[in-house]
């Protein structure tokens, strides 16, 4: 399977990773090579293999349902680029 320019631009938008126009072709080739490897792996019989969820053979540790965190918003907002009325400010998302 190989990726074309259109797909690269689509993925770039989804991931919010800026790919310059002149680099699109090179990225398409590199990604296609990676997909090539997946295609090769697909030849392996995985019928009875459970999909791996985590490389560690361990079980999730749990915490008891108690509140352990205190309000630190002043400290945390001190490093935010912009704050108003205790809200983090970001560029407007809805017109």
């Amino acid at each position: 399977m190989s990726l074309g320019k259109t797909e690269v631009k689509y993925i770039s938008r989804l991931t919010q990773i800026d790919v310059r126009e002149e680099a699109v072709e090179g990225v398409a080739e590199k990604l296609s090579n990676i997909l090539e490897l997946f295609a090769q792996m697909e030849a392996a019989d995985t019928k009875d293999v459970l999909p791996m969820a985590h490389p560690l053979d361990a079980v999730q540790r749990l915490r008891v349902d108690v509140v352990t965190e205190v309000d630190q918003h002043e400290k945390l907002q001190a490093i935010a680029p912009a704050v108003a009325e205790a809200h983090y400010l970001v560029p407007q998302v809805i017109e």
Partner: protein
């Protein structure tokens, strides 16, 4: 040619935990902005989530109530999308291995028939934050208090074929999660959110394109929104148009739905297993231990109230409409030693419910306890007060004036059962109404009601009506 409607619901039930799903920050509603968002909720680099154990039991108990398969090995995945109220750039959710698998829920339709709705799955996920617009012109404010709040997303099969069926299912699920104590069901505060996927097709044809109706916080509006959306889609197709897959918002003021944003890339969430979380393994022993704590479910309770207590279907359904209501009623029955269950049921469904409605209170907030109501019913049963006086006593109890006994005592409401006292009341009324007595004796037997009324009035409503009647009849012979 007719149309077939296909509806599936996605319900987000906020689980009743004290802390968030992956952090120790509080989930309490209504706190000042960002005071309950810790570095994990903010998605700070290097922060690692640790799963709250309470969410597992709460998910399993719902799975058991839905007769569903429990995911003995369930996995968290990252659902990737960019939005300012999601600082990590992904929502931790479950995809391929949810904690609750295929199950079912039986609903009752308007004509009394039953229909089984399939539940595809229920998976755990974290809620996102909240965007606030208009705080500063040209900018969006973000409050991350809600970020990381535990949600159980319950996805139905596309089994419903009308707005009424969809609402019946949503209501049933709403009742169930509250019975199980896993969600407070508060729709105004967003603890129980219903998204409806609606599509239409010609009978026998493949499924049509669906539109999703989001953020509707009342059952009445869900029903209206679905109805109006069905009409819109049919008109659109019959007019030669095509339905596009999108999210639509319901505008209650104009009773219309409008497009929110096209979900052009929506299906490309690029799910993959979350490397920060290990799989959850649930043993059969754990499942059985939770099964042992499963409360009696609403349907079973309703059937028992009819068979064991001899209540009507209607009374049984009102009395099991919430777990708190059912438990209150059962306590009243127990405290009155089941001497007159019908009387207890009547007081619960009329006086008590009416007072709750009038003051917009829930059963839990009732100023009259089960002990209080039972105490008053016992006084009706031992003839200390009549049903009419009981209403007065109940109001006084509701206003915090004390127990039934105290109120009866202080206000002197004890029913007059003394034969001598009743006799003198009867004699007075008969002596003062000679014409009516003549009329009665001439055959106008309905005059009896008039005399009873006069006597009750003279006694301030305290004479025992049964005794009054008996004495009148014998004196008028």
């Amino acid at each position: 040619m007719s149309w077939e409607v296909v509806i599936g619901l996605e319900i987000h039930a906020q689980l009743t935990t004290k802390s968030k799903i992956f952090s120790g920050a509080s989930t309490a509603y209504g706190a000042a902005p960002n005071t309950q968002a810790c570095p994990i909720d903010l998605g700070m680099p290097g922060m690692l989530p640790v799963l709250n154990q309470a969410v597992i039991g709460k998910s399993i108990i719902l799975g058991l109530a839905l007769d569903a398969e429990i995911g003995k090995r369930s996995v968290f995945d990252r659902k990737n999308y960019f939005y300012p109220d999601l600082p990590k750039g992904y929502q931790t959710s479950q995809f391929e291995f949810p904690i609750v698998g295929q199950g079912k829920l039986e609903i009752e339709l308007e004509d009394g028939s039953k229909k089984v709705i399939g539940v595809t799955r229920a998976h755990l996920e974290e809620d996102a934050g909240k965007s606030v617009h208009g705080l500063v012109p040209g900018q969006t404010g973000v409050d991350l208090n809600r970020s990381g709040t535990p949600l159980l997303e319950i996805v139905s099969d596309p089994d419903m074929s009308s707005a009424k069926e969809a609402v019946a299912y949503a209501k049933k699920m709403h009742e169930l999660v509250q019975y199980l104590g896993i969600c407070d069901g508060n729709m105004q505060e967003g603890s129980f959110r219903v998204d409806s996927n609606v599509s239409v097709r010609r009978p026998g044809e493949p499924l049509g394109t669906r539109a999703e109706l989001k953020n509707i916080n009342s059952f009445r509006f869900i029903e209206k929104a679905i109805e109006i959306e069905i009409e819109r889609q049919i008109e659109l197709i019959e007019g030669g148009g095509t339905v596009v897959q999108e999210t639509r918002l319901y505008d209650a003021d104009n009773n219309t739905t409008r497009s929110m944003r096209t979900k052009e890339d929506a299906n490309d969430y690029r799910y993959f297993p979350c490397p920060d979380l290990l799989p959850i393994i649930i043993t059969d022993e754990e499942i059985e231990a939770i099964r042992a704590t499963l409360p009696e479910l609403p349907d079973a309770k309703r059937i028992r109230f009819v068979s064991e207590f001899g209540l009507s279907e209607y009374d049984a359904s009102v009395l099991t409409s919430s777990r708190a209501m059912a438990e209150f009623f059962e306590k009243v029955v127990e405290l009155t030693e089941a001497k007159d269950i019908k009387l207890c049921a009547n007081w619960m469904t009329s006086g008590f419910s009416a007072a709750l409605n009038r003051d917009s209170l829930s059963v839990e907030q009732s100023p009259v306890s089960a002990e209080g109501l039972a105490g008053m019913i016992l006084r009706i049963l031992d003839n200390s007060i009549s049903g009419k006086i009981a209403k007065q006593v109940f109001e006084a109890m509701w206003n915090g004036e004390g127990s039934a006994d105290e109120i009866i005592d202080v206000k002197g409401l004890k029913q007059i059962t003394d034969t001598g006292a009743i006799e003198s009341l009867v004699d007075d009324v008969l002596a003062n109404n000679p014409e009516q007595v003549e009329a009665y004796k001439a055959g106008q037997t309905k005059m009896l009601g008039y005399f009873v009324g006069q006597i009750m009035k003279a006694s301030g409503g305290q004479a025992n009506p049964g005794q009054v009647n008996k004495m009148l009849v014998s004196k008028l012979k």
